[in-house]
């Protein structure tokens, strides 16, 4: 067992950190937090340096690394700014992943390289207004006539929906399948296809530079060639996808916690009350110690899940443990950070309340914490 990153991973971490520290200035972070706009220029810059395509193989224009290296980058980006960090790194996570595993060569060649290079943006649409945690049945339907599919329905809360060029959409392709999740398929859809409409969602609590939207599909015609993988396997592809991407969400959470912690530590050393730095008060220093313990534990869980994914095989339990714990830690640590800042922590200009607002999403998307616990419980029940 070895508890350290190798030289290459250390260099990756440093490169991501330096990029984020120079580019994600506090002013820019505040500006984007207010205007709820996607930082396209930053995304392209990050993509050109390879930060957004860590897990995409070199032959498709990516960097050819694993989940662990991707997580190292995501942690560093979110450590500097949670909103910009998520916005820049979230776009390329899912679509290439599904295509690499199940797409045919033509789909891979056509859709992955422009995403890897940051020329295009992707969105993956599973959630519907009526189906969030439970995606075993989709209201969005895909009906086949000839060699064409007609998709009808709506998707909600889709990251990048308003700006994406390439979509994957999970649909009920066989409404009569028993159980229903055996009748779901994933389709590739491109922006501009008649019948596809995206609307931007406003007023999110955090990760505001990461745009979210809803999709409306009305008689959206999709050629049969756009079916991803096998017919009626979409549900399984989706679960398999989450085994990896949920670790990345854990990395977001660890990064956010680390970023807020560092700010709080600095502040505690310089803020004086009762004639001394507040870090001298045990109530403050113990909080910092607890924050350190939690972040360390969360990071190790995240590393372990990523390591298992890359080295052995995806381990849904390790992934759920990492995501559920890291996201909780992110909430607690960012809350403690505000507390250490006192009144100033409540102000946007001190850059910690934003971390707290952003951290919350990690407990919600890609399976809420309750859903992670369900995965863990299923495993426990099967243990003898």
């Amino acid at each position: 067992m070895e508890f350290k990153l190798n030289n290459e991973q250390i260099e990756i971490k440093r490169a991501a950190r330096e990029f984020a520290e120079k580019e994600f200035t506090p002013e820019l972070a505040l500006e984007y937090d207010q205007k709820e706009e996607f930082p396209l220029g930053l995304y392209k810059k990050a993509a050109q340096l390879g930060f957004t395509s860590m897990r995409i193989p070199c032959e498709y224009g990516g960097q050819g690394y694993g989940v662990l290296e991707d997580c190292i980058v995501v942690e560093e980006l979110c450590r500097v700014d949670p909103g910009l960090g998520v916005a820049v790194s979230l776009g390329n996570l899912m679509v290439p992943d599904v295509l690499l595993r199940h797409g045919n060569e033509e789909q891979k060649q056509r859709y992955i390289p422009p995403l890897a290079k940051g020329e295009k943006i992707a969105a993956a649409a599973f959630t519907e207004p009526e189906h969030g945690s439970d995606i075993t049945r989709m209201d969005s339907t895909a009906k086949k006539t000839g060699d064409e599919w007609t998709i009808n329905g709506a998707k909600e809360f889709i990251t990048n929906a308003p700006i994406a060029d390439t979509f994957i959409i999970l649909c009920q392709s066989d409404p009569n399948a028993q159980p229903s999740h055996r009748g779901q398929s994933i389709f590739l859809v491109e922006k501009g296809m008649p019948g596809l409409e995206a609307t931007k969602l406003h007023g999110k609590m955090g990760i505001k530079p990461c745009v979210t939207g809803s999709l409306c599909m009305s008689d959206l015609k999709v050629p049969d060639a756009n079916l991803v993988g096998e017919l009626n396997k979409g549900f399984y592809y989706t679960l398999e996808l989450f085994d990896g991407t949920r670790i990345t969400v854990a990395a977001q959470a660890v990064g956010m916690a680390q970023g807020a912690f560092e700010k709080a530590l600095n502040y505690a050393k310089t803020r004086k009350q009762f004639g001394q730095p507040i870090i001298n008060f045990q109530a403050v220093s113990f909080k910092l110690a607890d924050m350190t313990i939690k972040i360390e534990a969360a990071r190790l869980m995240m590393y372990k899940a990523a390591w298992l994914y890359d080295k052995e095989k995806p381990n849904p339990v390790a992934t759920s443990i990492a995501k559920a714990y890291a996201s909780r830690v992110a909430m607690e640590v960012t809350d403690d950070a505000i507390q250490i800042f006192g009144g100033y922590g409540y102000l946007a200009d001190y850059h910690v309340e934003r971390f707290h607002r952003c951290a919350k999403i990690t407990e919600i998307y890609e399976g809420t914490s309750e859903i992670q616990k369900l995965t863990i419980c299923n495993y426990l029940q099967k243990q003898t």
Binding site: E11, I12, A15, E18, K22, Q63
Partner: protein
């Protein structure tokens, strides 16, 4: 154009809380974050840009322990073709002269048209290694270089002087230039660069490879000896400017100008 860039791995001290160690001659280094010396970063970038324009090679060279490899790897990731690390316990305590001697022993045997280094290092700030190295190599040099243009057989450099003056020199190659920050904008390390860097080897050389004897390196070979390092007592001196906002603004502008800051 073959270029050698001298780089140093230094602790980032600008924002750290510094303490003097028990010898009283050095700073306490535990907990400090190390990185490539800021000035060397610009020197490396300049070298890589020249190479990209004209072809040739860039070799980064440093003196230090295994930790220094991370600075060399950064150079490789940013476009250097080769890296050399000179290391030996006997090198410990070398001043600028001994450092230049060690570098000289290796660089004199490398083919190079240009040697670039940072104007100074962020840790000791002696700004002397480049100049001494040029003397030892017997090549012309210029310091405080803020612009570098290559012609055939010569280089034109702009030097930044006090009081906002700038001087242009034409210098015969091979030559050594000690560059200022701001000569370019160093690029980010890319993931592609890291992958390439990991495939390049860092050549490690010791005292025996330098052809020098112990007497020329480390404290024995140094001309300077640190007597004491300390934090000067804080003096409370502040000048309060009085007057209307306009008058104060004018005074501030004059002050900044007189110190060459604007």
């Amino acid at each position: 154009m073959d270029i050698v860039v001298c780089v140093k791995h230094v602790p980032e001290t600008a924002e750290a809380e510094l303490k003097i160690d028990s010898t009283g001659k050095n700073i306490e280094k535990t907990g400090l974050v190390y990185d490539i010396n800021e000035w060397d970063d610009y020197a490396l970038e300049e070298a890589v840009r020249i190479k990209e324009k004209q072809g040739g090679t860039v070799t980064a060279i440093t003196i230090g322990t295994e930790d220094f490899d991370s600075t060399l790897r950064k150079c490789l990731a940013r476009g250097a073709d080769a890296a050399i690390r000179l290391t030996d316990p006997k090198f410990q305590g070398s001043d600028a002269y001994a450092t230049a001697k060690i570098l000289h022993s290796i660089i004199k045997n490398l083919h190079c048209d240009l040697i670039l280094c940072g104007l100074q290092a962020g840790d000791d700030g002696s700004a002397a290694v480049g100049t001494i190295l040029a003397q030892l190599l017997g090549v012309p040099h210029a310091t405080m270089v803020k612009k570098l243009e290559l012609c055939t057989g010569t280089a034109k450099v702009n030097r930044e002087l006090e009081g906002g003056l700038e001087e242009i020199l034409e210098i015969k190659l091979p030559a050594l230039f000690a560059v200022s920050t701001g000569i370019n904008e160093p690029r980010y390390v890319s993931i592609m660069g890291i992958r390439k860097a990991m495939q390049k080897e860092i050549k490690v050389l010791g005292l025996a490879d330098t052809g020098l004897t112990e007497a020329y390196v480390g404290e024995a070979g140094s001309w300077l000896k640190t007597e004491k390092l300390y934090v000067p007592p804080v003096e409370k001196q502040a000048e309060f400017l009085k007057g209307t906002p306009d008058e104060v603004a004018t005074k501030i502008a004059e002050l900044l100008k007189s110190r060459g800051l604007i």
